[in-house]
Chain length 273, copies 2
Amino acid sequence: MILVNGKADNRISISDRAIQYGDGLFETIAYRNGQLEFVDTHLMRLAVGCKRLAIPFRQLKQLKEELSIVLTELAEHDAVIKIIISRGSGGRGYLADPSVEPTRIISTYPLPTYPANYQEIGVTARICQQRLSENTSLAGIKHLNRLEQVLARTEWHDPEISEGIMLDQHENVIEGTMSNLFIVKAGELFTAELNKSGVAGIIRAEILDITADNNIPCTETIISKSTLADADEVFVCNSIIGIWPVTCIYNGKINYNYPVGKITRQLQNLLSN
Amino acid sequence: MILVNGKADNRISISDRAIQYGDGLFETIAYRNGQLEFVDTHLMRLAVGCKRLAIPFRQLKQLKEELSIVLTELAEHDAVIKIIISRGSGGRGYLADPSVEPTRIISTYPLPTYPANYQEIGVTARICQQRLSENTSLAGIKHLNRLEQVLARTEWHDPEISEGIMLDQHENVIEGTMSNLFIVKAGELFTAELNKSGVAGIIRAEILDITADNNIPCTETIISKSTLADADEVFVCNSIIGIWPVTCIYNGKINYNYPVGKITRQLQNLLSN
């Protein structure tokens, strides 16, 4: 089912600024066991993103009503719910007309068919050649300008590799193509600062909260490639996959290997409660 | 008139990767006096951009046929022709399905109603707060990830200001929101290197060719804000506006002022021949 501004439809106007400029944002929400997971946090992030992009999104109530319609249709079927908010249709070049109303798109997809044991036994990742650009005004936002992730994802077709790790312009480790990344070193957690690049993920935020509540030291910092190589544990996370331990990272001809560590397990347990 | 993959239509599927990720490119071509200006150069740039984004675009012949249909419809009416090529519809997340076929969109717009004397008397510009990010893999390409330009263009509504000048992460001058920028100093032309950011414009390329042919020194280099301030002449250019002399640039509380110089005039003349 796809709703565009509340109506069942699967197409939008060519003049929509999502098409013309990638001028919008998205959220990807897991619907499992009849629950729309972390929905309030997703909608909060969407509102913050709209504010940062100066998209005057005043249709949160309608969006929630439309989500209810979609969930009723899904009934008990698990799904991924994707919300796209664009600035709307038209304007004179890059300048949007002040009267433009944002476009709301809600679409549903089957949950991806990742092997269930990825959460148990972990996954293999690789370090991508494609770098993330840096821009404080776009950092952290889940916006529609995703060519860097698309190009990174073109780099491998080996099905044994489940995620690509992306570095910034200074060769520091930021995140996965579709996930955030944490490392554990000497009992402490670290994840990249996202003040210049990256997407501030919902599960990442949840982990920052959980670790604070449980007195597990967790720091947002700069993570170099050698810090990644020397980590005791590594995991990636997002709203759909939860937490995947990373047991091997290909970095050109060198492999970094990690066990599935106890802090990763502890966080998986805390997250599922 | 809008053609989507050769058919009259004004909408595309939600699953198109232009909407989902800004995964595509565009060209904006002037159609004036029955001529599609610099069309071969535009189509060449499109092909190069597709190659750099690994979009397997094999429909150049169809695209040209569709352009003919659009021109026949326009007859003698001047217009802007916008071509969008996206990677196509679908795929599993960032990874496109190998069978995906690119989407071709051709749309026409009235030529913008800029005052005709902008080319004569010049325009006022401003330096934007919004910075351009840097990424060698995207630099120069006219791709659909245009949030930086959109955000830059939200910064002003004063109709006296005709263009915003954008700096990179190192505060160097790169281009306008919709144009490339040249400066003249001591009889020599300079424009920004576009190896890390910016769009390599068709008129910019034309000017590089014209200056080489006419023994006018012209260098692609790094242009600092102080170099811009000290310039003898400044102009911006693109396929629709041609060359606009810039006579004033607002930089916060400071204004930089320039005459409409003779090299700018010489290039306007050379370009129109």
